[in-house]
Symmetry: C2
Subunit: 608 residues, 2 copies
C-alpha cells in the first residue's frame, strides 16, 4: 500500500527531506525559469495557433501536477516547439472537418493525450516508445525544426503564409513576398541577429567584462527577455502597431477557470491518432531529457511513472484551458543549470507564471509578434542537426534509409506522416534485414575448438560435411531463406553427407521455422544426408523438446560444433568404403593451405 | 540473353526433351483432371458469386499461360476455394460502392492480382510471402474452410442466407430455416453423405473388389463426377427444377471472346487492397503445394518466377473473362497422382475444358446447385484442421496468440481482416519478443573455456565482474531494455568493478543500440567501472570500427568471454589494495558450491 503510494507519488520521496538550503536553490532557479518562460509560453501558443494566454495557462497547472507525479527532479514541463507544431497540424484538420473551433480542439487534444499517456503508464507500456529508433527521432526533430523556423518567417517579414510542409510554406511565403512590412522586418531581423549573436558572442563579452562564466552563461540565456523588453518598448514609443507591425495585443487578465472539456465522439475520434502521436513523441523527448539530467546527478527516472506524470500534466493543461505539454529540452536545461534541486522549483515557477497571468499581461500588449517568432526560430534551429545524416550513412544503410525517409516525409508531407513513416520504415527495414540473415560456412580454427566463418578466417573444412552457422533467430520471415540456402549448398556440394547447423546465434525457433526444419530434415533424409544441430541454447532446446522434432531428426543435437564435427568425421571413417567418401579422403582434416573447401564454391551473396 | 529467356520461360526446360512416353503420361493425367475440374470449376464460380461459365473460362487460358511461365511441372492452376471466397468478399464491397457489376469487378480483380504478382516477380519480392507465418496461414485456411462450408449450407437446404462471417451467416441461416426445400435437402444431404463416405469407405470397397490400390484411389477421386451424373439425371427425370430445386440452368455455349478489361481509377483503387491480399494468399498456397510436389520428385521451383507464372495466369483469366486463380492443392495432387510429368498435362487439361465449354454445357442444365455445394463442403472441410491449435499451444505462446487472432478475426470479421490481423499480430508479437530479449548472467563451466547461464548450469562466477550475455541482436526496440537491465544489475551488485557483455548472439547493433552502448559506457566510466565486450562477430565489429565507439570504450573487446574474465581477474589482483576487492577475495575463483554469486540476487524476471 505504502509502496504503491510511493510509486505513484514520487513527490513523497523528495518532499520529506526538504530543507531551507534546497528551498534557496529552487527559488533562484524558479525565478530564472519564470522570466524565460513568459515570452516562450506566448511564442509557443502562437506557433500552435492559439491565443497568447493559452501559453501561460499551459505553464501553470501542468507544472504543479508533474511536480507531484513525475520522477525527474529537474524536468520542466510546458509548451514545447515540436508538440506545438503537431498541435497546430492536428487542430487544423479538426477545425477543417467542422467539429469545433481551434481552442476547443487543442483542449480536447491535451485531454486525449493525457488520458492516453496515463493508460499507457498504468499498463506499463513505456516500451512502446522504444519503437521510435534514434535516427527516426533525430531526423524528425531536425525536420520539424526546419518546418517551424520556416513557418515563423512570415512573422519576421510581416506577411501571410500557410502550409504544413516546406514546399507549401515556401511557395506561400514567396507569393506574398511583395507585401513585406519594413518596420516588422526591422524588428524581426534585429531580434534574430541579436539572439544569434547572444548565443555565441554575448557570453564571451560578459566574461570579458568580469562576470564569472556561470553568471555570464545565465545572463546570456536571458537574452530573449532583453529582446522582448526592448522591442516592446520600441513598439510602444514608435507606435509601431499603427505602422503595420503585428502586436500580441490584449491578453485577458487573470487565471483560467477550471473546467472539464466537453466530450464529443466525432471530435475525439478525429483527434485520437494525432493525440497518440503527440503523446509518444512528447514522451520520448521528455524521457530523453529526463534521463540525461538524472544521469548527471546519479539519479534515475522511472519510464512508466513518467507516462503517468506527463499524462497528468496534459490532463491538467486541458482542465485549465491549455494545450498539449511535455518536458522541454531548453527549459529543463535552464532549470537544471540554474540550480534547481527538486520539483519545488517547478511549483514556484508555476506560481510565477500565475502571477504574470494576473498582473503582467497589460505590459505585453505592445510585444511584437516578430520578436516571439525570432525567439522561436533561434530556439528550434538549435534542434536542427544534420550531422546525424553523415553518422548514419557511415554506420549502416538501413539506419540511413530510415532517417532519410523520416526527414523527407516530414518536410514534404508534414509532421504526422513523417513520424509514422519513420516508425514503419524502421520496423520494415529491421524485418527485411532479419528475413535475410547472415549465414556463414564455418570451419575449425586449427588447434582450437572454435569455428569461424571460412571467408574471414583460415580454417579447416571438410568436403563431406556442410557446417554452417545462421546468425539470426529462426522465425517465419527467414525460415524459407534458410531452407533455400541449405538446398543451394546441397546442389553445390554433391559430396556432402552431413549437414551441421550451428545455432549459437539462434535465440528462438518459432513454429514456422520448426516446420521448415522438419521439411529440411525430411528432404535430407530422402537424399541420405544426416541433419545435425549444435550449440542449441537452453530456451530453444526447451521449445524443441516439447515437439517430436528431436525424435524425427535423422542426425543429432551436439553440445558444441567441435563435438559435432569430430563425431561425424568418425562416422565417415567407419563407412569409408563408400566410393564418394574415398574420393575426397574422408575423415581427414585438411590443413588450411590445401583446403579444397566445399564452401569455396558458394555464391558470395549467400555467405556474407 | 539466353539465360534470361530460360529464366522467364521455364517451358523451354522441359519442352526440348519431350517424348512419346511423357506424352502418354500427361494425356492420361489430363483426362482425369479434366473430368474432375468441370464440376469443380462450376462450384467455385458459384462460391465466388459468379455465373457458372466463368469457372470454365478461368480454367482454360490461365492453365496455358502457367504452363509456359511456371516452374512447377505438376502444379494445376485454376479457381480454388479460398481465393474464390476472397473474390466474393472483395466483389461484394465493390458492387456495394456502385462501381460496377459483380462480373466486371471479378475480372478487374483478376487483372489487378495478375499485375501485382508480375511486378512482385520482376522485383524479386517473393520474400514478402514469408511474412505470412505458418500459424497464420494454417489458421486462416482452417477458418476460411469453416466459413465456406457454412456459406454452402444454404444450397444444401435450399434456402437464402448471406453474410461474410460465421455470426452473420449462422443467424441468416437460422432465420430462413423454415423455408427448407425438402427435395433440395434430399439431393444435397445425399450427395454430402455419399462424398464423405467415398473419402473413406469407397476406396476400401474397390480394393476389396479386386482393383489395385492405385486404381481404387483414382476411381474414388472421381466420386464427385459420379454424384454430378446421378443428381443431374435425377433432376432431369424427376423434374426437380419445378419442385423448387435450384439448378445450374443455362450456361452459354462456346469460348469467351478475349478482351482487355476496362480501366477505372475508382474501381481499381477500391479493389487494390483485396487484390494484394488475394495475390499473396494465393501465392503462398500455390508455392507451398508446388514445393511439396517438386520435393517428391527432387525438382525445384523458383519462388520469384512463380510470381510471374501465377501473375500471367491471372492476367490470362481476366482477358478471357475469368476470375482470380491460383495453384490449387487438391487439383494439383490429382494431377500429380494421375501421373502428370510436365505442364503439357495442363495444356491438355485446358483443351479438355475448352471442349467442355463448347459442347457439354447443355448437359449441365439440370445439375442441382446442391450437388455443387456438397462437393465444395467436402473439399473445404478437408482443409479444416484444428490440430494446429494444440500444436501451437504446446510450442509457444506467441505462435498460439497469432493463430487464435487469425482464426477469431477471420471467423468473426471476415477473410480480409482475418489475414491482415494475423500478419500484423505475428509481426507485432515478434517485435515484442525481441524488444525484451533473453539476458543471462553467465559463468565459467569449471575446467572448460565455456560460459553458460548461471540459472541453468553449475558455473563459476566472480562478484566483481558482471558477466552477461544478451541473446538478441541489439536494435532500437530493445536497446533501452538492455540499458535498464545493466543498470538494475549495477544497483544489485555494489561490488562490481567490471562489466563484460558477451555478444555471441548479437547479429547486429544498429545506430540506436550504439547510442545506448555509448551511454552505458559513459555511465560506467563515471561510476569507475570498466565496460568490456566479448565474442563480437565479424560483421558487427566491422560496423563498430566505423565509429568512435571502440576508442571511447573504457574497457576492451575480447575475442572470447574466457579471455575477458582471465584478463579482468588479473586487473583485480593488481589493484588488490582496494578495500572492496579485498572483502570479496578479489581475483580468486570460487568453486560452484560456495559461490556467493552476484547474480544470485538478480530478479528472475530479468534473467530468464
Amino acid at each position: 500500500m505504502l509502496a504503491t503510494l510511493h510509486r505513484y507519488l514520487p513527490v513523497l520521496a523528495w518532499a520529506r527531506g526538504y530543507n531551507r538550503q534546497l528551498l534557496g536553490s529552487d527559488l533562484i532557479a524558479a525565478l530564472i525559469v519564470t522570466v524565460m518562460l513568459i515570452p516562450q509560453s506566448l511564442a509557443y501558443a502562437m506557433l500552435a495557433g492559439m491565443p497568447a494566454q493559452m501559453g501561460l495557462y499551459a505553464s501553470i497547472l501542468p507544472l504543479l501536477i508533474y511536480a507531484l507525479l513525475g520522477t525527474s527532479r529537474t524536468l520542466s514541463v510546458g509548451p514545447v516547439a515540436v508538440a506545438s507544431l503537431m498541435t497546430a497540424a492536428a487542430v487544423g484538420k479538426a477545425v477543417e472537418a467542422g467539429y469545433t473551433d481551434a481552442v476547443g480542439a487543442a483542449i480536447a487534444l491535451a485531454l486525449l493525450s493525457g488520458l492516453i499517456l496515463i493508460v499507457m503508464g498504468l499498463l506499463r507500456f513505456g516500451f512502446f516508445a522504444n519503437f521510435l529508433s534514434h535516427p527516426v527521432v533525430a531526423g524528425f526533430i531536425t525536420a520539424s525544426g526546419l518546418i517551424i523556423a520556416l513557418s515563423q518567417l512570415k512573422h519576421i517579414l510581416g506577411i501571410e503564409a500557410h502550409g504544413e510542409n516546406i514546399v507549401d510554406l515556401g511557395l506561400s511565403l514567396f507569393r506574398h513576398l511583395q507585401q513585406i512590412n519594413p518596420p516588422t522586418l526591422a524588428i524581426g531581423a534585429g531580434a534574430l541577429a541579436f539572439l544569434f549573436w547572444a548565443r555565441s558572442g554575448l557570453k564571451a563579452i560578459l566574461i570579458g567584462a568580469g562576470l564569472s562564466p556561470y553568471s555570464a552563461a545565465t545572463l546570456a540565456r536571458t537574452a530573449p527577455v532583453f529582446v522582448v523588453l526592448v522591442t516592446t518598448l520600441a513598439a510602444y514609443l514608435l507606435d509601431l502597431g499603427d505602422r503595420g507591425v503585428a502586436l500580441v495585443g490584449e491578453i485577458p487578465r487573470g487565471l483560467p477557470s477550471l473546467q472539464l472539456p466537453a466530450f464529443s465522439v466525432d471530435l475525439w475520434s478525429s483527434l485520437a491518432g494525432s493525440a497518440l502521436l503527440i503523446s509518444i513523441i512528447g514522451y520520448v523527448e521528455s524521457v530523453s531529457v529526463g534521463k540525461t539530467l538524472a544521469a548527471k546527478r546519479r539519479q534515475r527516472i522511472d519510464p512508466d511513472q513518467e507516462l503517468i506524470g506527463l499524462g497528468g500534466a496534459n490532463v491538467g493543461s486541458a482542465v485549465c484551458a491549455g494545450f498539449p505539454v511535455t518536458g522541454g529540452f531548453s527549459r529543463s536545461i535552464v532549470n537544471f543549470d540554474a540550480g534547481a534541486e527538486t520539483q519545488a522549483a517547478s511549483i514556484f515557477t508555476a506560481l510565477g507564471i500565475a502571477l504574470a497571468a494576473l498582473f503582467l499581461t497589460p505590459l505585453l500588449y505592445y510585444l511584437p509578434k516578430a520578436t516571439l517568432a525570432a525567439t522561436i526560430i533561434v530556439a528550434v534551429l538549435s534542434l536542427v542537426d544534420f550531422s546525424i545524416l553523415r553518422q548514419a550513412w557511415r554506420y549502416s544503410t538501413s539506419d540511413f534509409i530510415g532517417l532519410v525517409i523520416t526527414i523527407a516525409v516530414t518536410l514534404l508531407l508534414g509532421v504526422e506522416r513523417g513520424v509514422l513513416s519513420g516508425v514503419l520504415a524502421s520496423i520494415a527495414l529491421h524485418l527485411y534485414k532479419t528475413s535475410r540473415p547472415h549465414i556463414a560456412i564455418v570451419g575449425n580454427v586449427g588447434g582450437t575448438e572454435h569455428f569461424r566463418n571460412v571467408l574471414r578466417h583460415k580454417v579447416i573444412t571438410h568436403p563431406e560435411i556442410i557446417s554452417l552457422r545462421v546468425d539470426e533467430s529462426l522465425y517465419f520471415a527467414n525460415a524459407a531463406y534458410l531452407e533455400d540456402t541449405i538446398y543451394a549448398l546441397l546442389a553445390e556440394n554433391r559430396d556432402a553427407r552431413h549437414v551441421v547447423l550451428m545455432c549459437s546465434a539462434v535465440n528462438e525457433i518459432d513454429l514456422s521455422a520448426l516446420e521448415t526444419l522438419e521439411a529440411v530434415n525430411q528432404r535430407l533424409t530422402e537424399l541420405q544426408l544426416s541433419f545435425n544441430l549444435s550449440e542449441v541454447k537452453g530456451p530453444v532446446m526447451d521449445c524443441l523438446a516439447r515437439t517430436r522434432f528431436l525424435q524425427r531428426l535423422n542426425g543429432q543435437v551436439f553440445l558444441t560444433q567441435h563435438q559435432a564435427i569430430e563425431a561425424l568425421k568418425e562416422t565417415l571413417e567407419c563407412t569409408g568404403n563408400d566410393p564418394q567418401a574415398q574420393d575426397t579422403a574422408a575423415g581427414e582434416y585438411k590443413p588450411p593451405g590445401q583446403k579444397e573447401s566445399t564452401s569455396g564454391k558458394t555464391k558470395p551473396d549467400q555467405i556474407r
